[in-house]
Structure formats: C-alpha cells, structure tokens
Symmetry: C3
Amino acid sequence: MGTRLGALVERLGGQLVGDANLEVTGIAPLTDAGVSHISFLSNSKLRAQAAQSQAAALIVSAADDAFIAAGYSGARIVVPNPYVYFARAAQYFESLTAIVPAAGVHATAVVADSAQIAASAHIGPRVVIEDGAVIEDGAVISAGCFIGREAVIGEGTKLFANVTFQAYCQIGKRGIIHSGAVIGTDGFGFANEGGVYIKIPQTGRVIIGDDVDIGANTTIDRGALADTIIEDGVKLDNQIQIGHNCHIGAHTAMAGCVGVAGSAKIGKYCTFGGAAMVLGHLTIADKVHVGSGSMVSRSILEPGQYTGFYPLAKNADWEKSAVIVRNLPAMRDKIRALEKTIKTKTEEDES
Amino acid sequence: MGTRLGALVERLGGQLVGDANLEVTGIAPLTDAGVSHISFLSNSKLRAQAAQSQAAALIVSAADDAFIAAGYSGARIVVPNPYVYFARAAQYFESLTAIVPAAGVHATAVVADSAQIAASAHIGPRVVIEDGAVIEDGAVISAGCFIGREAVIGEGTKLFANVTFQAYCQIGKRGIIHSGAVIGTDGFGFANEGGVYIKIPQTGRVIIGDDVDIGANTTIDRGALADTIIEDGVKLDNQIQIGHNCHIGAHTAMAGCVGVAGSAKIGKYCTFGGAAMVLGHLTIADKVHVGSGSMVSRSILEPGQYTGFYPLAKNADWEKSAVIVRNLPAMRDKIRALEKTIKTKTEEDES
Amino acid sequence: MGTRLGALVERLGGQLVGDANLEVTGIAPLTDAGVSHISFLSNSKLRAQAAQSQAAALIVSAADDAFIAAGYSGARIVVPNPYVYFARAAQYFESLTAIVPAAGVHATAVVADSAQIAASAHIGPRVVIEDGAVIEDGAVISAGCFIGREAVIGEGTKLFANVTFQAYCQIGKRGIIHSGAVIGTDGFGFANEGGVYIKIPQTGRVIIGDDVDIGANTTIDRGALADTIIEDGVKLDNQIQIGHNCHIGAHTAMAGCVGVAGSAKIGKYCTFGGAAMVLGHLTIADKVHVGSGSMVSRSILEPGQYTGFYPLAKNADWEKSAVIVRNLPAMRDKIRALEKTIKTKTEEDES
C-alpha cells in the first residue's frame, strides 16, 4: 500500500535526488515522519528540524535543499512549491487506500422516475431525489441527502451524508459539499406593512461553478428574483452563511463562521478570516483579504488586507478602555480645548 | 401562466391606470423587466429609471406616479406601499406555478400509530413522526424531517427537508421552517462541581406562534424548566441560535448568524442585524434595532438604533489604532496631566 | 410518579430537616414551585423569596438555612452546593418519567453486516451505519443519524435525531450529541498554487473523550494528518465550529456560536462566552475565561478573565466614537505635540 519514489516523481514531477526504488508508505509532518514516510519542508525556519527528520524522503525547494543536503541523509524531491507538492502527494497516497463508493442506487433511496441518474453515480441509502433532478457521471450522493426538483449535481461532485440541495439549484464538476450544508434555502426577504412582515417569494436559484468546496452546515440562500452565484474554485469552510443574490468571485476562500448578507458582490481571489461579516449590497474588489472577526460595513474597492476587531485584554483592562471608547468624543473635545488654550496663551505671550 | 392586470387589481387592490385586459406573466426588477412583466418603484430615487422601464405595468405610489406618468407609457397600479404590493403580487405569481405537495403519507415515512396526521397534510419520504405528535391541516413535512413525541405542527405550516423538531414542542399556523433547523434541542444548562459539569435536564418546551419563519440550520433550545417562547410573526434568518427560556416578542426579525443567550427577553417589533449577539438574562424593549455585528451586553430599555462594532481599516492602520485602544487609559491620564499643567501655569501666570 | 423526600436524600445525600415521608412530584424554580414540588436556593440574594416559597421542600446551603429556617415552614435539604444538588435531583425526577428508547435495530435502519451493534443499543428508524462501525452497550442512535465506517460510539452515549458522525471518528462513554451536529467533516486545508486552491486530504480523526456534550449543528473537523482531540467532560453548546487538529482540554465549556480555528490548543477548565473566536495555532492555558463576542488573536498563557468587544451605544454615539477610533493615531500625535509645546514653553519660561 505504498509507492516507489520514482513512481511518485513520474506522476507528480519534481527532481529526485536519491534512490528511485525506495518504497514509501505515506506522508507525515516533519516531527512525526518515520523511516517509511516522506515529509516536506514548506517553511525555511524549519530547515534544522528537516535535516534531522527520520523521513525516507523530503519534499524541498531548491533554496532549502542547498541548506539541508549536507545534513540530511534521506532522499529529496526538489520542487518549486513544496506545500503544493505535499498536497498532491497526500492526494495520491489517499487515493491508494480510499474506498470509492460503488456506482448505483441504493435500495432504500427514493428517486423520482423523471430524475436522470448517471450509471456511474453513487446514490446512497435513504437519499431522496425529486422530479427532474440530474446527477452526472461519477457524482456521489451519500446517505440521507435530499436533492430537490430539477437540481443538477455535476460530474464527479461529492455530497457527504445529510446534505440538503434544494430545487432548481446547480453545482458544477469536482465539487464537495459537506454534511449538513443547505443549498438553496429561501432568502430572507420581506416587505414590512405596519410592523408585520410579508414574505417575498424567493424564486431565484443558487448556481455554483466547478471545483467548489462547501463546508459542513454552511447555508447558501437562493436568489429572490435573480440567482445567487458562486464561481469556480471558491472554497467555503463550515457554518458560513451566504445571503440571497450574493455573487462570490472565483477562487475566493472563506474560513468558518463567515457571514455574507444579501446582494453582496465579492471579487476573485479574496480571503475572509473566520467569523468575518460582510453587510448586504456591498462590493468587494478582487484580492481583498479580510481578517477574522472583522465587520465589513462599506464597499472595499482596493485590494489589500483589512481588519477590524476589538483587541482582547484582561477583563479589567478591557472595561477601562471600553468606557473610554464610549467617551472618545469628550476626550477629543478636551484635546481641542487644550490646543485652543495653548494657542491663546502663546499668542498672548508673543503679543 | 399569467394574469390580466384587471384580475390582479381585483385580487390585491390598488388603482389601475391603463388597460385592465393587458396580460402579464410575472414580476421583475426595473432593470430586468420585459414587456410582459410588471415591475415596481419602491425607491423614489429610481424614478428616472422607472420611467424608462420596458415593463408592461409599474406598481407605484401616488407621489411617484405624478412624476413618472408623463414619461412612462405602460400601465400603472397606484398603491400606498409599492414594496408591500410587490410582495403580494410576487406571492400571487408564485402561486400560479407552485407545485403543491400532495396530501398523504409517503410509503417510506415512519409514523407512530398514535400520531395524528390530518388527511390534508403532506408527509414526505423518510419522515419520522413519533408517538402522539399532531400534524394539522395542510401542513407539509418534507423529506427526512423528524417530528418528536407529542410535538404539534400547526395548520398550513411547512417544514422543508431535513428539519428536526423535537418532542413536546409546538409551532402555530402558516409557519415555515427551513432545512437543517433544529427546534427543541436541550438548553446549555449545567451545575459545576469542582470543575466538572453536571447536566441539568432541560424539560421545558419551545412554543412558537403563528406566521413564524425559521431559517436554515437555525437552532432554538427548549426551556430548562419553563418554555422558550417565540411569538407570532417572528422572522428568523439562517444559522441563528436562540438559547433556552428566551422570549422573542411578536414581529421581531433577526438576520443571519444572530445569537441570543439563555433567558433573554426581547420585545416586539425589534430588528437584529446579522451576527448581532445578545447576552443572557437581558431585557430588550419593543422597537429596539441592533446593528450587525453588535454585542448587546446590557439590557436596552428604550427603543432606538444601537450599534457597536470595531470599524474596519487597512490592516496596518487597524494595528496602530488597536494598540492605542488598549492604551486609552494611559492616553486619558496624559490629557489629565496636560490639563493640570496648563491650569497650574495659567494660575502662576495670573498670580 | 414522585418520590418521598427520604428516598431522595437516601439517593443523593444531604441533611433532611422535615418529614421523610413527604411525597414530592417534581422540581421547580422558587417562584413557580407549588406545594408538591421541591425547589432550591442557590443565590443568597433570594433568601426572602425562598422563605415565602410554597414549595414542599427547599434545597439550601447551611448558611442560607440559618436565615430561612425561621420563616419557611416546609422541609429543607441542607447541602454544600444547592445548585449541584438541584441538577442531580432534576436528573432523578426526569429519570422517573423518561421514555427510554428500546434496545434493538429499527426495521428501516441500514446497518452494514460488519458493524458491531451491542444488543442493548437502540438504533432508530432511518439510521445508516457503515462497515466496521462499533455501537457500544446502551448507546442510543436516534432517527436519521449517519455513522461512518469504523466509527465508535461509546457506552451509553446518545445521539439525537439527524446527527452525522463520520468515518473513523470516536466518542467515549455517556456523551450526548444533539441534532444536526457533524463530527469528522474534512478540515479546511488547501495549498495555494497561483491563486488556485489544491485540497490537502484530511486523513486524521476526531477523538472525543467521555462525558462530552455536543450541541445542535455544532461541527468538529477531523485532523489533517494527526487527530482532533476533545478531552473528557468538555461541553459544547450549539453552532460551535472546531477546526482541524484542535485540542480541547478536559472540562472546558463553550457557549453557542464559538469558533476555534485549526490547530488551536486549549487548556482544561476554560470557558468561552457565546460567539467568542480563537485564531488558529494558538495556545490557551488552563482556566482561561474568554468573554462573549471576544476575538482571541494571540496565545493566552496565564489563567484569568479576558474580554474584547466594542461597547454597544446608541447608533449616533457609536458613529462618533468609531470615527475617532479610526483616527486614534492622529489624536495621539496631537497629544504628543501638546506635551512638546508645553514642555518647550515651560523651559522657555524658566530660562
């Protein structure tokens, strides 16, 4: 259940320095790697640690290789980006032991006659698939999932157990949706008449591109009239909320607990730290990076790193500073008064 | 699959200026509306846009109608509140095409003999309904829902797929519960004995009024001894957490990711922006509006708009301001020292 | 369906002052307790209220008993910690009426042949249990749960309806997992190659100790290579997110909506208020208490109470203070300039 280094390099590239016939059984961090593992050095600060690793082989950059080659006796795979190579190698090792769900529809699944299920797709136990839904080649719909009417699950996309994917929504190829996620719930849209809310029907869809990952218990609302759009390569962690009519640009990533209110338009290649929040109807440019716990209350039109959270302190210190924060306008007024007093005094003295 | 303008006005009211026999097929925003759509003008800033709309008819207020009547050649429906009328019209158009789940119990549902299921209710595939539960007329329990012992689902209330509604809890009429919501989970109640937590049984219920909407993956805890109460007309978005023994007043609305800790008592007609948080045992008056991302740490006894989140900035700027926030007490002391110095100097000069 | 006071004290300890043969039917708060209830006084401020309670018996500390004995005519159970005793008594009363799910596997459950199900375990309707999973004695797997391959559910642990427990993960004895929780979803791990994310397989597990409670819709990610660890006695409320490779120390409690990013190491006996957030790779010492809505952005190596959230204010006041918060560096510079001016002036005056 392993591979020869030569076979790995043949598959994934990189320059091998060492024995191509050496067998390795898996991948492990520097500190845990044993003599049958390969490991990786993605942070130059760990060169000394790497040189002492017991790993059979190390994935390294050329710059780091020059430093560790002398001290480290194992094989090296020299590559431009060791962390990316590690990811690909880990995918490869995982593929050696992964249990691929069998094609076919489980006897306990409830599948509408008009649904189109590819012969190579896996439909697990207790799945419900409604009229006109399309499950493409190699898609995996795990136990307990619900697929609504005319929804489309693209080729090779995997839904873990207990995902809810509502009617008319679509996801492209090679996506992953984790358990408990709900795609295509009604957006939060109401008109208010004398204090009472009147529901606005949410008749748009959620349209999700290729290579999109969606975390556990994440929710994405369908559009009100138009659609909610998630472009290719977007990665959403767990417990994220995306409001109706949002548009998330390609290759943007959001960490857990992020919330995006309705109709926000977020660019490509952005990142959002955990629990960051974006208000509705804002525009966020490409390559904007928002720190964890930060509230985005205005549009951000320039790329860059943005942050806004109250710094943590010992409770007693926080209480003191928080009182002053409330009273900052008074403090500003005092400073202005001091400036004026001094200016007046100086003028008097000089006159 | 459309309607004549005359039929719409007959049903929903409003003063029609134009051809009552004109057929319209749906409703769309000003910018998207085509010649068979009706559209609406709910924001007077968009008068110019409205006047150029291709829509067959516009829903407008009398004030706006006076402005657009000259420029716009389509029909107009003049009403007191165009946005509310839009909501009702959208509901009507949706009703023309909506697929109503058929009455009856799906063959794969597991329903206890002692449960009372109205003949007009829909019980979807894979639903589980336990002993003594009551599903009233016209209720819709979609695929995969769980209804606990002696729970009550009121007339016309709809549960989307994969809702969990625990034992003894109740929801009234015309409610909506979205997928993944969990109603009636145990509250977070423990006694601490030498560092170890002893669970306090949570034996209260969740009692939900009429016309309440509950978002996807929202959780509402059952009371510890007494009940958790959600009054009529409350609207909860996705991923909201309501702690045990909370009381949410009628027609209060909360946006996504809001958290309310146990035993908070929230008034009627309040609104909470996304990710706002309310600590436990607080009282919030009627008509309090809390901004997104704001932490309510004390009771609010006066209506009004309240906010409290750290303003976003470029990361470098935030770092500078955050350091000073921590040191505000020192800054205050410096200002006091300056004030004292100047006061002393002034007195010296004057003496 | 009640108990004699004597039987209660025999079971739970405490010094009974009053009639051991008195029958009580349940437990209630001071204000609600009727003549057949017992109640408890856990807060000395409520002594006067307690003395007037209609409860048949009161659980009190010795200190409080000295005060109320004169005024209160019912029985008293004198104990060191009335709140803990209340919890245990409430557990006892609940046990008298609790409906224990019957042992055995429901006909609609889908259980792999190679799974090991204890004869005393309850497997509810629509449950799916995959190959090699182990369900120990007395465990309860409620309707709609999914148990992945080779997962282990310990003795007496209860999963409420619709829990997802992924492959290879384990939970110990006497645990509770509430509905909608997802244990063992993939961690959020990617390598970035030119803006595009490459998934790092998440091959670790989630290993959960004994006496752990996990709230509704809470998510715990499996480790990337090593495991995510939740030690004994940890209590997690609803909608909490625990990232991959986190380690949560024994008897730590987290309130609803808390987020912990990957590889954070949190000590024992900590508490986290609702919606507190912990960044990744941090270390938190034992007995650290983090307030609600606070962002932990650096390691905390000393026990204590920590807080950091922006204080709530009327919106107009917040807007004024928030503007100044952004401009604090300018304010500091003004103060420095004032200090310098005064220093210069004073030196001039004195020269």
